[in-house]
Symmetry: D2
């Protein structure tokens, strides 16, 4: 009944560079998009600091969320009269797709690491708490918000619905690969989305892929692989992320130590105090952080000021490749040498490993939680993808880790003070590697 009630008189469309048009036929979806909490996603970049490497990557989570909704809508259209598909789940799927990222904070990865928060909890709070989104969802049914939260939290009983939103080949991933490729301008993220959504079939507890679509899925898997290593884990992006984390650390540490900020960062205090209410959280967006980074360039604290200036003006850290297993003394030797040179290694020397890297796209342990991709064979049986595809088999399960050591090369190049100590650092670093805009 909810479906019927909420049908719009006239379909609404959003022009979208990735999917051409995003179509909204349900009043409920239209209202959700209009809520303050959803509009807030316009002020949070999809790829955090990646725009400092790929200047086109300035797109926000708003467009991505619409995209995930749209892909889900198209998949469900294909399911329409399939016996395994319950049409009553339609609206639940669409809402979950639209709202799956609504709890993300600005520069999500660094934010969560420094302040020990979890975007999944905020997503849940936004859906279930006293918000405009909750009010809209309750119009369907008082129990509806909880269902949406369960689908996003992967605990909903109908696992088929869950797998549409979270699996190895879900609407989320398909949208972000295509979208991030589009905005960065790289050619790697391309795959045949239409082919994939047309060969998706519902089964008891998961979405499976008709065997004839295997090659399109292979192509998608390869796109993912390339995008991770060439875009998401790009060393220059990670340099910006390191600096961002250090700024947040420093500001929090200063606050805890009673430092007197020239501009008291009122909206950030609940964060520093570890007492962030939902209301506080919803006021945070990237503008708030960028505002303080801008302002803090004039703060007295030399470290905070320097780090902010680096971030704002894109004067990033350089890096060298670093193998913790073979160079295990290097890091501690460098820390000592940095101290001798009066450069605080806490803020100016950082190991960054790609396996615990930015964004929510990939985290250790995550893959295991996700269902593998199953092919629907001509005879009707299922077969796990890597058993059919030589390419996927070759790639899958091979965890690749990349460690880099980041530091401000300019500090060490400038030998006007602490010359001897800096020479020692230079010797340890051998000044291999490098960086650049792109």
């Amino acid at each position: 009944m909810a479906n019927r009630l909420t049908k719009l008189d006239e379909e609404k469309v959003f022009k979208d560079p990735v999917h051409r048009y995003i179509h909204v036929k349900d009043g409920l979806i239209w209202e959700l998009i209009g809520t303050a909490e959803f509009q807030r996603l316009r002020r949070i970049k999809q790829l955090g600091t990646t725009y400092l490497t790929f200047h086109g990557a300035e797109h926000s989570r708003f467009g991505h969320s619409l995209g995930v909704y749209e892909i889900t809508r198209r998949i469900i259209d294909v399911f329409d009269d399939h016996p395994h598909w319950d049409p009553d789940e339609r609206l639940l799927c669409l809402c979950s797709a639209l709202l799956h990222d609504v709890g993300h904070g600005p520069f999500s990865h660094s934010f969560e690491k420094v302040f020990d928060t979890d975007h999944e909890l905020f997503t849940r709070d936004i859906i279930l708490g006293d918000t405009e989104i909750n009010a809209v969802l309750k119009k369907v049914d008082p129990a509806f918000p909880k269902k949406v939260a369960e689908v996003i939290g992967k605990t909903y009983e109908n696992k088929l619905v869950v797998s549409l939103i979270s699996s190895q080949i879900d609407a989320d991933r398909m949208d972000y690969l295509l979208r991030d490729a589009y905005f960065t301008g790289v050619s790697y993220g391309q795959f045949d989305l239409e082919r994939i959504w047309r060969v998706m079939r519902p089964r008891d507890d998961q979405v499976v892929i008709k065997h004839s679509g295997m090659h399109a899925v292979e192509d998608y898997i390869m796109s993912r692989y390339q995008m991770y290593w060439q875009v998401y884990f790009h060393p220059v992006t990670r340099s910006a992320e390191v600096i961002l984390s250090k700024i947040l650390h420093r500001a929090k540490a200063l606050y805890k130590a009673g430092y007197n900020f020239e501009h008291q960062p009122l909206p950030l205090l609940p964060l520093f105090n570890g007492k962030l209410s939902l209301e506080d959280f919803l006021r945070l967006d990237e503008a708030v952080f960028l505002f303080y980074f801008q302002i803090w360039q004039q703060e007295d604290d030399a470290i905070l000021s320097d780090l902010c200036s680096r971030f704002v003006n894109r004067r990033l850290f350089k890096y060298i490749e670093f193998s913790p297993n073979t160079n295990f003394n290097l890091y501690s030797d460098l820390r000592e040498a940095f101290k001798d040179a009066d450069i605080d290694p806490e803020y100016y020397l950082s190991v960054d490993s790609s396996s615990d890297l930015p964004y929510d796209f990939y985290r250790p342990g995550e893959e295991e939680e996700r269902l593998p991709i199953h092919l629907l064979m001509p005879g009707g049986g299922l077969r796990e993808l890597s058993r059919e595809s030589a390419v996927v088999e070759a790639i899958s399960g091979k965890k690749r880790t990349d460690h880099k050591l980041y530091f401000p090369k300019d500090f060490i190049t400038d030998l006007s003070i602490n010359k001897a100590a800096k020479e020692k650092i230079r010797k340890l670093l051998k000044f291999e590697g490098g960086s650049g805009h792109a």
Copy 2:
């Protein structure tokens, strides 16, 4: 000599979605890109509030500036050994192309209108003042910054150089049409850039187009026409722009009236006081404004708070078509009716005409200043484009103006108070027209 001195050992590239790659071979260009003033362009959107209509339009002036540089570079490559072309002007063209927008403030159009500033003066100040950009440019020659400022200011003696950057078919326009089409996702902005840059030829005082390229230029002109009316002058974007202007007006008026802001907007005070130094200006970016819009939602002043909430949460004004010539009483009648209903027409009733609209793409009087496009005929003579092209002739010179009256429909729909006065407004407005996301 400057050219040789600044040649990079290895070409640098930026991945760009519009031009595939942007190539930097000159150390000078590389250094300019790295300056704080140029990096600041990352924090200013290319299309102001357009992202509230076309969600993809979140791109900044940074990428556009690189794009204008790149197109200019490619055009000049074709000129290379042409007798009309002086290779010593190469670096001047490239720097001018790169820096032509460097003086733009956040939400440039509203900003300039409310605070009576001029981005062209700021551009000049940034190039000639005590800035990193000035320091880099002076490495070429102490007189070089002044030349760059003159080219951008259109007063440089070599008009051929000026026409590359500012004319009816300059690198600036060609980049923004393609780029804005790419990011919004509309198909109208497409034209054959490569064809055009390859048929451009230098003449004494302007760039002309080989006759065989006429159709490509027609296509470019049509793209411009379509982009203006479908993207740049979109009524929903203008609604957001109206609200933005009203916020700035209100904040300034409150400050002038001695209002006590809960959060004193320190970085904006020089603006309110009309005493904006170059240093003050350079600290302003969109994050600063978005930060205050966010914060001011909690201010006591009901108008400021309401307007900010509308902007932040995208609850825009609706509009009706309005013809000042035939409806000349409507506006004053409505102002009276608004007052009767206790709705301040100063902030809640606004006429917006497309000819004095957003962005620097088009302004009354601008076209006249720009050289017409000349075709280089097979015999060697020149001929003005519209004399050869029926399509261009049909379009050119026909100024089209569009007036709309913006107002908060929700205020008038809610009849709980001032019922009679609001009914009168509703009658005057007839509630024609509408709005929507896109």
Copy 3:
């Protein structure tokens, strides 16, 4: 009932570069595609001799016919539950769309002109005659083939159905503009097809366009304008077409004169005799003509041999612009001069005017027969497009004609014989204009 009976168990798809996928759900459509008469379209190029100018234009009428079907299918999907739309017409529309070009012969324009045939009559014959297509269509209903023929012949009583296939903005034109742009590689043919098909609405006797889609239609009209003048009427293509016509003329004239061909062109004799049965016609494809052009290079007749060699090896005629009104003596003077130089003007001097040009895209008198485009205004009324759109108004009704005089420049450049006569020709021609590959 027909619809239900013919529904395929599993949708079939064709990969198509223009529409990504072409979807076939009806067994009837699938069977029609498999008929010999439809497969024959693979052996007839969509753009005749255009591949000699744009080497990418080697695509056949087969893909175009599928494309027209696909666009029609998508439009009808939008009509689905519209009160003005009769779902029983669906299959009729799809079949008519698919088959609308089935009577085209090889190099259709020259073919028809020289042999005085009409592809519309052949289309009718194929649908109603003793063919595989007729047998498939009759499965729906014995009267069904006649209906299909009537829709294509524009005499069907439901004019709404006719307008889908033949109007100023029908599925045929939309497909060929996009397809021909794709294969030639030009950028002019682009417009937003999806936008247009989504704003099409059925009315009593025609398809109309929602007013909000006006700009997309403007863009389509401009694409058409550009494609005609830059691709379809390209002077080099017309040169090839001139030679082609001359070959056919010569071969027919020789046959009529009792010339003894070394290879008797058996499949062409019915054509030369003016007694072409449907069976004879269906055996003709481009391979047949290209085979004889190849072979005839060795014929004794110097003119036939030379013309064939020119066509096969792309040694085309050059041209000059020619204005019949002001240069009315030029043509007759040239004919005399050609005769003096022993060059037969019947075959080596030809005026080609773009208004009686190749292909079935445009013919004098055609536009008038087609319904103008109507916009569906917000209030529900209709308004003819050019009254709303300044661009369309500027272009419409302005017939543009282009006359060129084609001749073999090499014959005249070679002065070894008939020097004086040739000098006279050269003087008359002034050797203006030129040609080239592209």
Copy 4:
């Protein structure tokens, strides 16, 4: 000196859908394109029978040859002042790139297999024999044709030049992957061509790839892998190829047996006699074959007539997967059963293995002859690609073979005669597998 002599006054361009424009600056190249032997490539499809599976694949070897030339030109432009590069080799490279496929016959693979010819020998003959191409090349230097033939034949002493045209990542492959993907409309063939050509560097005896371009090369390798299995080895294409071979076999066998053709296939007789002169060969194009296939449908010989009708009207053979190792009796059992059913297995039962398949893209033994791809490491050393790239390592060296058994399913389904024998065949075949348009 040759370079200078042949420079055109004005650059010529071809519009190309893949590379946007193909630029010709050398008179020599322009003249080569105009020769009869090069124009002949317009009449030979790039992908043989693939158009019967992917209807867009109707493009000829002409465009591909221009594309290989263009990529080579762009690579060489990057080499320009590199110490390892000898600018005197420029024109040789360009000519070799342009002419590398000039000896291909119609439906090259089947043609060569049935008539035991070799396109490489014809290429050599065309370059060195009495042809227009030879005459043009000799203008550079009497020894120049021989050099071109050596480069194409891979025997030229400067292996760097050879590797541009023939290696694992040569201009030939890069063009065909992109071009075939474009015309078929599949998304798999995409990779970043511009990135690759910009990171190519000349070394003593090969072109190497800067390490920073490794990911672009990975992407290219994956594109190749996908294109082979999804386009080049598509089972439906192979079905058409099987029928084509059988037609040629049958026609030759009939001729040898003294069969009296209604239309004597004069141009094919030298082929049947095994005495094909260069002149004979150059007259063969696809139109010649398609002409006879068309005509032969009316021949008395039932097998020839049936096979031709299948090819012309696309009534292809069906197939089952076939594993020669495990089913080694199946083939011989089927042959017997076919004979019992009066179906000649020589023409109606065929094993096709993808490793000895169509086109010149891949042949057993070929890879070994080609140099592996080497990366130029930051330190200056070389490293073979698969040692650096996990993806390439996973794929390389794994030969994949695919065997299919083709047969006319309709013959066996029709049980009106030889019912028992046909039932036996059906049992043996189990009627697994299938076919379809795409």
